[in-house]
């Protein structure tokens, strides 16, 4: 979109605008008297008739289609329960993980995933107020091994990905690391050397801290390139 954006930090109760001609998205409500009010601490982006409040804080609420990273914390005969940083554990049926029917009579669920295993899965079904259902049927989903996990505030995940994946692609390009991003605030990184994984973690934490500032992608790229040079010269940490 061309033109000038107004951006500023807003807090709950703050009046953003008044009137019915606006198109409101994000953490804001329209009151009967026409006032548009922010409902969370967020970054207000306003241009012309478009108002969007991007929250800067808040819990992860799963949406259908989200990719998440979960940890197996319990199981039953035909499914596992995964911790996904939500109020309830998510259920992953054995058949959804194995991509084929599971024969409880012949197979044991723990042969495939054990307590503590890490899984990249999609939210297949979810209703507000109920445990979500996961699936690993799609390509690229399943058990994750090696590498490291990084946890950040889930509302910052879109910034880690970037517009049209620009930030994530930049990180992958410079470090050549394998990265899977969970909408639930968990990121998995696997790189050639643990130092590179540390560097990626360092960059992601920086994105989390500075997510609402300008010029971030450039700064992150610089940090990563400097870091990679240090690692190559054996000077990291």
């Amino acid at each position: 979109m061309k033109g000038q954006y107004t951006t500023k930090i807003v807090v709950p109760g703050e009046v953003i605008a008044v009137g019915s001609r606006y198109n409101v998205r994000g953490a804001a409500i329209v009151k009967p008297d026409g006032r548009i009010i922010a409902t969370r601490i967020g970054l207000l982006r306003m241009k012309g008739r478009e108002i969007n409040v991007v929250p800067l804080a808040g819990a992860y609420i799963p949406q259908k289609g989200d990719s998440v990273i979960g940890i197996v914390v319990d199981y039953s005969v035909v499914y596992w329960l995964l911790e996904i940083n939500y109020v309830w554990k998510a259920r992953l049926d054995a058949s959804e993980f194995l991509r084929r029917p599971f024969d409880a009579g012949k197979e044991r669920i723990t042969d495939y995933l054990k307590i503590g295993d890490v899984v990249y899965a999609k939210i297949a079904h979810v209703e507000r107020g109920m445990p979500p259902i996961l699936s690993c049927r799609d390509k690229g989903y399943g058990k994750l091994e090696g590498g490291r996990l990084i946890s950040i505030n889930p509302v910052k995940i879109p910034r880690v990905i970037g517009v049209k994946s620009s930030m994530l692609d930049a990180i992958k390009k410079i470090t050549k690391a394998e990265i899977k991003v969970g909408a639930n605030g968990i990121i998995w990184v696997k790189a050639e050397r643990p130092e590179i994984e540390e560097l990626v973690e360092h960059a992601i934490k920086k994105i989390e801290r500075e997510s609402h500032t300008a010029g971030l992608t450039k700064r992150i790229q610089n940090e990563l390139m400097k870091g990679m040079h240090k690692i190559q010269r054996g000077e990291w940490k």
């Binding site: 954006y5 951006t7 500023k8 109760g13 009010i37 969370r40 808040g58 109020v87 801290r209």
Partner: protein, 250 residues
């Protein structure tokens, strides 16, 4: 150490306060958010010598599960005083007063929260009074609002609160412990954006005809506190923007 009721009364009759404040002055207020790492939201608020730490956990599972509401989150508030917060050591087990205040504080905050976004879940708010010198429930509400906002719980407004007092025909604001012993103590809380009152209590005695003026004085003081709450939340983020030399926006 603690001023006597007579001292306070004598000064008030002359229109003066024990700590030198003007009748409608607030005590010095300090507010900080994000002070507890292991909580989704937290805030530390001091009003004069009264200091309260509030922690917000949520949304979490509703426990006990039979309490869960299929349409909205349940708000659970616990107000407790530390044993060393008062002149005499207070027993750690909750008193009837703490239980009443827990309910009052919950009801002061509930109208501001958009609980429909979290059905069957629970939002837990814990207020610990570290030091008590009057106005602990108002400081708790101020801290809880900050902690809830910091945790990203959807709210239609912040809630700000202050105790108004009445004595000898005079209206005063933000009572300390010595003053609330003596005066009619009228704690108030509001959602300033909607001019709505969410907490109102009173004890002792005051003329019915003074109510409008009392509410008006309270509202003005509450607005000052509200501005400070907003400033505290925004500056937490501005701090980060400054260190990178970048302006907010892209």
């Amino acid at each position: 150490m603690k001023p006597s009721k007579e001292e306070v009364a004598e000064l008030l009759r002359k229109g003066l306060r024990i700590d030198g404040r003007k009748m409608h002055d607030l005590r010095p207020i300090r507010m900080e958010v994000g002070v507890v790492e292991r909580a989704e939201g937290s805030a530390l608020v001091s009003m004069g010598k009264t200091r309260v730490l509030c922690v917000v956990r949520g949304p979490v599972e509703c426990v006990p599960s039979h309490m869960a509401d299929p349409e909205r989150a349940i708000l659970d508030v616990a107000y407790r005083m530390a044993t060393f917060s008062t002149d005499e050591r207070k027993s750690p087990s909750p008193s009837r007063r703490e239980i009443e205040l827990s309910k009052i504080i919950r009801e002061a905050l509930e109208p501001a929260l958009l609980l429909g976004e979290y059905p069957r879940m629970m939002i837990r708010v814990y207020c610990l009074v570290l030091q008590a010198d009057g106005g602990t429930r108002t400081a708790s509400i101020n801290a809880a609002s900050l902690a809830l906002a910091y945790a990203g719980i959807p709210m239609q407004d912040l809630v700000a609160s202050v105790a108004v007092g009445y004595y000898d025909g005079k209206i005063l604001v933000d009572l300390n412990a010595a003053e609330d012993d003596l005066c009619a103590d009228i704690p108030m809380a509001m959602m300033p954006a909607y001019n709505k009152i969410t907490l109102l209590q009173a004890d002792h005695i005051f003329p019915i005809d003074k109510i409008r003026e009392i509410l008006d004085v309270g509202r003005k003081a509450i607005n000052q506190i509200y501005e400070l709450q907003k400033k505290t939340l925004k500056s937490k983020y501005a701090e980060i923007a400054k260190t990178t030399g970048a302006n907010v926006g892209e």
